[in-house]
Amino acid sequence: MLESFAFAYMQRATVAGVLVGALCAIIGVYVVLKGLAFIGAGIAHASFGGVAIGVWLGINPIWSAIVFCILTAWGIGITSRSSHVKEDTAVGVFFASTMALGILLIGLKQGYQVDLFSYLFGSILAVTIQDVWTTVVITAVVLATVLILYKDLMFITFDSEMAEVTGVPAGRLYFLLITMMALTVVMSIKVVGIVLVSALIVTPAAAAYQLTEKFRNMMIIAVAFGIGSCVVGLILSDILGIASGATIVLLSTAIFFLCAAISPRRRRTKEL
């Protein structure tokens, strides 16, 4: 196992795993507390369309996926905020259509089925040095944004209406949040894959939620779980020769159930 770290691919994979684990956990806190899990899943499915566009145009699929996912996130946001369509309905409409677009475009590009598998289920070992740098930049941007807007993002997550009344730009912050969600999804594609990314966003934060009643602690614990799942999952999958994305997600799920079992919240709910 330790020899594996000598390989450049394993180093790249580890760095990507740490960054993506942290990124997903941070965004996951907002997703869990604001109930945005379904939007996350929607954006993840849309990223398939985004990847397909990149493949079809012959450009790096990460870039096309970033643009496409952000546009989809905004589409979902605008539809659910401005019309009488519920958020989950808006997601349902968008995620089927963007996925369908992806399937159509991939179909036009014959012989691409092999690579497709790595986008759907992740192939952390195929992480390029360019991917690592992109992830470093995006993680830094998201981290800085969350630190600077810490109190404001917490406010709109807790009570968006009151934020609006008292002059906090809740609408713009919401769009910023779903934009960061889209970026997170795309950065995670190579590590866990389109199908599993929403699990990596939701699960560490949901596990952390079981253990604390403080927002900041929830953030810190979630990040620890996210990074832990990614790194340990990566090493395990390398030793055992199994799929990395699935190992990472199953590990974080195990952590979640462990936390739920020992949760003070659960004990309190029982008392009530």
């Binding site: 109190k151 009151m162 002059g167 730009p169 604390t212 602690n217």
Partner: protein
């Protein structure tokens, strides 16, 4: 008296439709600075809708609303002068924040996006908690409070801002008699300090002695009058259907229904 004062809220011919139903029908209402206005009306009469429109949370289908002299959808910095206690809290009581942090959120608009809270913000939040008598609960989470205690947290949050305009939508729901009494005497103090208050309530009788005007709402504005005026009693009769009227009893008029004189 009202004409000479500065108009703080100006609602003009506001009509709001919901699912094709008219919820508010060309309502016009002005509130002057320093005035204490009560909004009364039966369930479903549009009180909350009017209040939410007043705060820019609902866009009227017709009509105009100005607050602090500005169209409500263009309010920016002035928003930090508004305190609001909503009727329904669409929030997660298990959200990982303490009571103190929730009350501190009342200051966030004033502090500004991306800026940190300072000592005076924390002092104001603590003072607001003390004012509603739950200073000792500051480190609890909402899940560990009773319904009435939660309501007081949100009242404290509205006060933390030291608002010039305080809008309360049935703030005493679930609050016990003592705390209700305390809230009303607090409102009286705030009024003396010049705060403009809009209160939606069913038990306006309790505060009627220092209410300036009552807006009787039932989809349209049935009456806008002083509490001791006869039109006001008539309007109440009309709205509540039966024999509701003000019952003047040692300077504190109550709304009563004749069948239950003790109510």
């Amino acid at each position: 008296m009202i004409d000479s004062a500065e108009t703080l809220i100006e609602i003009k011919d506001v009509t709001i439709l919901r699912h094709g139903l008219t919820v508010l029908d060309s309502v016009s209402l002005t509130v002057s600075r320093g005035e204490f206005t009560a909004i009364v009306g039966p369930n479903g009469s549009g009180k909350s809708t009017l209040v939410r429109a007043m705060l820019g949370l609902i866009k009227p289908d017709r009509g105009k609303i100005r607050v602090f002299g500005v169209p409500v959808d263009q309010l920016h910095e002035q928003r930090s002068k508004i305190g609001y206690v909503p009727q329904i809290f669409d929030i997660d009581i298990n959200f990982p924040v303490s009571v103190f942090e929730i009350v501190l959120m009342g200051r966030y608009g004033r502090i500004g996006v991306g800026r940190r809270t300072r000592q005076d913000d924390r002092d104001a939040a603590m003072a607001a908690l003390e004012k509603v008598g739950i200073g000792d609960l500051k480190d609890r989470s909402l899940a560990r409070l009773s319904g009435g205690q939660r309501q007081r947290v949100f009242i404290a949050r509205a006060l933390a801002n030291r608002p010039e305009l305080l809008v309360l939508d049935e703030p005493t729901t679930g609050v016990d008699v003592t705390a209700t009494g305390n809230l009303y005497s607090l409102l009286r103090t705030l009024k003396k300090e010049g705060v403009t208050i809009v209160l939606v309530s069913h038990d306006i009788g309790v505060v009627a002695s220092y209410i300036d005007t009552i807006a009787c709402l039932n989809v349209s504005l049935v009456a806008h009058c002083k509490p001791d005026e006869e039109v006001c009693s008539n309007a109440l009769c009309e709205m509540y259907g039966s024999h509701a009227a003000f019952f003047h009893h040692s300077d504190t008029p109550h709304i009563v229904v004749e069948d239950h004189p003790d109510a």
